[in-house]
Subunit: 220 residues, 2 copies
DNA sequence: AGATTTATTTTGACTAATCAAAATAGACGC
DNA sequence: GCGTCTATTTTGATTAGTCAAAATAAATCT
């Protein structure tokens, strides 16, 4: 069985290659895992020996088919656990990530399947992150963000790509949840500011960085 | 935070002292944890340095107040998780022990509390094992077993003290579940055999060893 | 091109947990 | 009381994962 550390390395390689990048640089991987670069190098070489990923020295890493399979299983556990914690145990969506970070390594495939059934086979977690299917399919749909979408059109939030409790609490308090309807009423690039108007009529200003974490699709 | 190994050592010291023994011998601890005796000695000395237990060389170990607190918290997680797996996820009672063995180290105190509330603050798990209270109280009620109780009196099963899937499946198939009504119809000590009659009228023979794992109380 | 900066790798050391096998302390038998 | 047996401890190694700091390769700048 893969250890917790191995599962974390593989999951983070998967997450970091989500943006389409073929090779994940060691620096990005090390900082995602909160280890020093040398540690990541050592570990990655061991994982490459195990056939879980490919290591191109000084360039980066890429999952093998087997490594991807393991990573998707862990990610599926993570996101289904988050969904369970929010929908069944009524935990705050800002705190479930930390919890799932541990539980993703502790639940068996059987519990995974039963949670999936209990929750009605959800396709995304409370943050809108897609849940890999039991067969290893992971939606890679690309969405616009509040920083990049066309202005003055009705939108719906589909995903919030940030895990920090602080940001998620802020988002919740301002109704920036998956499913919420809103539009971009103004975008001031020199100032780095995006103003959105919610369906309720309330207006709210966000930095471009914050706006870039809110993924949206055109309403209707 | 206590590591998984530390939590396991403390939990097993607690379980092994359940039978009233003041000192848990190293051999018993080592075999409960499936490690060689030397490993247990090394670990126990480290735990004693941490103030989690007392080690009387060549005699055994005893939990300190702090060690007991940690152990009870882990045991509470274990048994509430088992209850959740059986009552909510409908898993077979013979397989939840293995699962809980991992999950007991992965869930936070907050999830623990929410599970407890969801399940209606149960006092015992699916095997009848008492669940430590949130304040660290653990029922130490002593029960008779099918090997020791008085014969020909109506009884109710309160607990099955065995975790192996094999035994639990056998017990379930023969209706030997907590809550079941039955009586001892015959006990043949020379042969080492106990015969029980269930409320349904069915009779069943058990070895003394097997019968000793079924705890009962007088019916009504 | 040559110098400088930055990312990555290498080296050496450390911690937690474990095992195998040798040493030892007690208990038990007589 | 002395030898034997058994439980426990000690010693020396091993594995997984990590960090600090030095070495190196590659990219970038002048
Ligand atoms: Mn998460
Ligand atoms: Mn999520
Ligand atoms: Mn159990
Ligand atoms: Mn149990």
């Amino acid at each position: 069985m893969a250890t917790i550390a191995v599962e974390n390395y593989l999951k983070h390689v998967l997450l970091l290659s989500e943006g389409g990048a073929d090779l994940v640089p060691m620096g990005a991987l090390a900082s995602a895992l909160a280890v020093v670069p040398g540690t990541a190098t050592t570990m990655v070489k061991a994982l490459a020996d195990e056939g879980l990923l490919e290591h191109l020295p000084r360039q980066g890493v890429r999952l093998t088919a087997e490594g991807r399979r393991v990573a998707l299983n862990v990610l599926r556990k993570h996101r289904l656990v988050e969904t369970f914690l929010v929908h069944v145990l009524k935990m705050d969506w800002s705190r479930v990530h930390e919890e799932a970070e541990q539980l993703e390594h502790a639940i068996s495939d059987e519990v995974l399947d039963r949670l999936d059934a209990l929750l009605g086979h959800p396709q995304s977690d409370p943050h809108g992150d897609p849940i890999p299917s039991a067969h290893g399919k992971l939606s890679s749909q690309v969405y616009a963000t509040l920083a990049t979408c066309v202005a003055d059109r009705p939108l719906r939030i589909v995903r919030v790509t940030e895990q920090s409790a602080e940001f998620l609490q802020f988002a919740e308090q301002n109704g920036l949840l998956p499913g919420a309807a809103l539009r971009v009423s103004d975008r001031n690039l020199p100032a780095g500011l995006v103003t959105v108007r919610r369906a309720t009529g309330r207006s709210l200003a966000l930095s471009l960085v914050a706006a870039g974490k809110i993924l949206v699709e055109p309403e209707r």
